[in-house]
């Protein structure tokens, strides 16, 4: 059953096909990402009403919450890619791990920095050892560990495999870490959007937030395509199709110069 279900995915395990697919998707994803990010943020920052308690400083939520949510989303996608890459020995999935890791790390850093900037006016301090802040910091360390491990081997393919294993170990540990620190200390305000309850936010503030959320997801997808393309080129540089691609590019740019 699984075989036939995913048969349509098979061609994309071939680096060349995936390279061109990513190339085709990239402009659409990037365009949509820029559009939704601009729409969500301009709406959120300029037009949605101020909070009755937090005033205008709550507006950082339109960057903070999407980056925090997708920092975790990026980690799960990285771990899924790692799992696929290791179990079915699909090399492009392993390369995707390396493509996603730095993006996720930057998202985590954005969430931490915007969180600190939000914490200063609200709690009167840049940083507290609260459960969510601590889990997010640990998430950053996990990302950095995966990146460092992947780069520590002279044989790059081996480094990626080992880093994929670490990503999977990390995803098993992440909920444990999260609940441990939650049990340990909590000051952070409760979640703004939950699946099961009515959101604790007015619709006029919710819509721009949801749009920013979509924008960050699209940006993640677009950047992953971009980075995956360069990973594919790096690892396939000795293949004829890459040579041809480079030669074709070289020819066309020469013609332009002439």
């Amino acid at each position: 059953m699984w075989g036939s279900m995913f048969r349509w995915l098979d061609p994309y395990a071939k680096p060349e096909t995936l390279y061109h697919l990513c190339g085709r998707l990239l402009p659409y994803l990037m365009g949509l990402a820029l559009f939704t990010l601009l729409l969500g943020n301009i709406w959120g920052l300029a037009f949605s009403p101020a909070d009755y308690q937090q005033g205008d400083s709550y507006r950082i939520i339109y960057i903070h919450v999407p980056s925090a949510i997708w920092s975790m989303g990026a980690y799960s996608s990285m771990a899924i890619a790692a799992f696929i890459g290791l179990v079915w020995q699909i090399r492009v999935a392993q390369w995707a791990v390396l493509a996603i890791a730095p993006i996720g790390a930057v998202y985590t850093a954005i969430a931490l920095i915007t969180g600190a900037a939000w914490g200063k006016p609200m709690w009167g301090t840049w940083w507290v050892w609260d459960a969510r802040l601590t889990s997010e910091l640990v998430l950053l360390f996990l990302y950095l560990g995966v990146i460092a491990l992947a780069g520590a081997f002279s044989e790059a393919a081996r480094g990626i495999k080992v880093a994929s294993l670490l990503a999977i170990v990390g995803v098993v540990n992440l909920p444990i870490i999260h609940f441990s620190v939650e049990w340990w200390n909590t000051l952070h305000q409760g979640a703004t959007i939950t699946k099961f309850a009515k959101p604790s936010i007015d619709p006029s503030m919710l819509w721009p937030l949801l749009i920013s959320l979509l924008g960050f997801a699209l940006l993640l997808a677009a950047l992953t395509c971009l980075r995956l393309r360069s990973q594919i080129l790096i690892f396939e540089q000795h293949r004829p199709w890459v040579r041809q691609l480079v030669d074709a590019k070289g020819d066309s740019s020469q013609k332009e110069q002439n």
Binding site: F141, V146, R158, I168, V169, I177, S180
Partner: protein, 221 residues
């Protein structure tokens, strides 16, 4: 089983001949512990208050550092390559390594714990809780640091890299172990924390050896 027994015997023999492998981490542990009063101040009240965290941070650092070279020699001499190429034996090797690593680093920590209690001014009850957390927690420390050693076995950079990838995974353990000791110090019930530590131990025992085996295969790959 015969294989496992002979592997255990081999590991113990190696430990008997290379005493530095288990003595150095122990000395390191005591040294780190004695640095804290020097850096923070010797007031007994404060020491007693921060003792749970101190003991556990020192323990996890010493266990982590002791695992750094765990697979290096076997890797260099081709032992691991042979085990990976063989049909079975790799899993026995992994479990034997983990057992012996705990015997050589976790058990000594438990044995010197009365000394720690004296150094940090813990009373008898606190010492008992410390021993229970060490008994439940140090095997998990060993399991995770062996995993770190296996992941970085063939890496060009060792040491710091291993700490970088494994220390975040220690966090839950640190929280619950020092939490149990703090609860005991303030006469609160602490069986919950101990149960969580036991759960961590069983969970890690079930999964980490498999991950270690996989990591070794990849490093030889």
């Amino acid at each position: 089983m015969v294989m496992w027994r002979s592997l255990i015997k081999r590991e113990l023999q190696l430990l008997g001949r290379q005493k530095a492998d288990w003595l150095n981490p122990l000395v390191f542990f005591l040294l780190v512990l004695s640095l804290f009063p020097l850096g923070i101040g010797p007031e007994p009240g404060m020491l007693k208050q921060i003792a749970p965290g101190l003991v556990w941070i020192a323990a996890l650092l010493s266990v982590l550092l002791s695992a750094e070279r765990l697979f290096k020699d076997d890797y260099r001499y081709g032992v691991i390559e042979q085990l990976v190429a063989g049909r079975e034996g790799l899993f026995s090797y992994v479990t034997a390594k983990i057992c012996c690593h705990w015997l050589s680093t976790g058990v000594p920590l438990i044995l010197v714990s009365p000394l720690i209690a004296v150094l940090l001014g813990l009373n008898f009850d606190s010492w008992q809780v410390l021993v229970v957390t060490l008994v439940l927690g140090t095997p998990v420390l060993s399991l995770l640091s062996v995993l770190g050693a296996a992941l970085t076995m063939a890496a060009d950079k060792g040491g710091i890299l291993q700490a970088l990838i494994i220390l975040p995974l220690y966090i839950p353990l640190l929280i619950f172990a020092s939490g149990a000791m703090e609860a005991a110090a303030t006469a609160l019930p602490y069986t919950g924390q101990l149960a969580v530590l036991l759960a961590f131990l069983l969970f890690a025992l079930a999964l980490v050896p498999l991950a270690v085996r996989q990591a070794l295969r990849m490093n030889v790959g």
